[in-house]
Amino acid sequence: MTAPVLFDIPGPKARARIRIGTVIGSVLILGLIAVVLIRLAANGQLEGQRWAVLFDPRTGVPQTLGRALVNTLQVAAVGMVAATIVGLLLAVGRLSDHRAVRWLVGAYIEFFRAIPLLVVIFALYFLLPKYGVELTAYQALTGGLVLYNSAVLAEIFRAGILSIDKGQSEAAYGIGMRKSQVMTLILLPQATRRMLPVLIAQLVVLLKDSSLGFIIGYFELLRGARSLVEFFSVSFGNTYTFQLYVAAALIYIVINVMLSQLARYVEKRTRRNKKAAAVGALDMPLDVQMESAAKP
């Protein structure tokens, strides 16, 4: 937050009021935390032994969660790399001089951005087999992620390419480069650098979306936690249910917060970089979920 313009530098009276507000706010928050803790304790959810199971290799919990996490990361990594490559091609196609190519690519992008990702995944998983193409849950999930994210990334790259100062491509044409050379040697490298923070932010979205694999039964983090719950419930009932769900959620949050911080750091660096300064205003597609992108 910048210097507060919405309220005055508080005087003695206002300071007293803010202190009261602070106390009331703190009491409320602490009260909320206390209620939650009491509820948890009343159900015995805070017993150390219930949490210890998460770290005890003899129970197989760390191994299973680890395997599930690797599956999640694998889907995210493969999906991101493939989506980036397809997205780059689509962005170039969207800026093509040929109207037919532009139109086709535009239709692809608009279509996949308009329908829910889960519908795409369902279509790959349930509909394609009817036409003789059997996909595993992994393939359907990755395929859906690539189809959707390549469309989003194409818009990101397009915005990046368009934001490069016109003089860059004019100069390149001026020294006799061909269209493909201007694109690959001049525009794309600069656009990619400019778009790096947004790409990382999109990786967070992709990682989050990989949890949709749960719904079609791919063994990712959430499904891993669920299968452990089902395994334990045979002999222990719901003793470890809550702990396992908390563990899965925390793993997601930690990874994604780290990625978000990385995106913020890279963005700050990019902004300081003078080489990347020869660019116009950035007109981001609006469904990119990035804090800085929303700022004017």
Binding site: A114, I115, P116, L117, L127, I215, A249, E291, A294
Partner: protein, 215 residues
């Protein structure tokens, strides 16, 4: 085609479920998100911290996990929501974080002179936010807010994994139909979503043009 007509009532019910889910969750998200944004720019540190924490947590948690927690996790501490309430709450709470970010970016985009002027004529924080800053902020955030809501409508498909019979859930439910029939259903589902998102995008565009401030 006959299959689609036979199953029209199924498709229509699913469409209404998606619509109702989105409307309720959207309302919750906009109200809660605005309150969060006000807390984030406000003078009281604990509320600021709480709102920031809320946004960070929900933005970095997959929506599926939020669903999961509210529907399967909370019963472990004796809070039983039921599938529909759980779905509305999950979708609303998750989207509120994004609404908060959109509104906050709008508040930041209001020229500092506006806030300074309203302070100079003696308005309090609440008054200047209500009377001066937020009305202008909402105008500039119409497009991003509209996109957050459209994304939410698409996200409501996740409820399919949690026993809500909304549009997307028709695909796994009718999976035993033959290829042509399932394709028809897919088409119906896609059209169903577009019947919500396209008019929404149109309205957002109209409102944006109507309320835009020329600077």
């Amino acid at each position: 085609m006959q299959f689609l007509i036979d199953n029209f009532s199924l498709l229509w019910d699913a469409f209404l479920t998606t619509l109702g889910l989105s409307a309720l969750a959207g309302l919750l998200a906009i109200v809660l998100g605005t309150l969060l944004a006000a807390a984030r720019v406000g003078p009281i540190p604990p509320l600021r911290g709480l709102a920031t924490f809320y946004v960070e947590v929900f933005r970095n948690t997959p929506l599926t996990v939020v669903f999961f927690f509210l529907i399967f996790g909370l019963p472990q501490i004796d809070i039983i929501l039921g599938f529909y309430t759980g779905a509305v709450l999950s979708l609303g709470l998750y989207t509120a974080a994004f609404v908060c970010e959109a509104v906050r970016s709008g508040i930041n985009s209001v020229a500092a002179g506006q806030a300074e002027a309203s302070r100079a004529i003696g308005l309090t924080f609440g008054q200047s936010l209500r009377e001066v800053v937020l009305p202008q902020a909402f105008r500039t955030v119409v497009p991003p807010l509209g996109n957050v809501i459209i994304a939410m409508v698409k996200n409501s498909s996740i409820a399919a994994g949690f026993a809500i019979s909304e549009l997307s859930s028709l695909l796994p439910r009718l999976v035993n139909a033959d290829a042509g029939q399932l394709t028809a259903i897919l088409l119906g589902v896609v059209i169903g979503y577009m019947l919500i998102t396209l008019p929404l995008a149109f309205v957002v565009h109209r409102v944006e043009r109507r309320v835009a401030i020329l600077r």
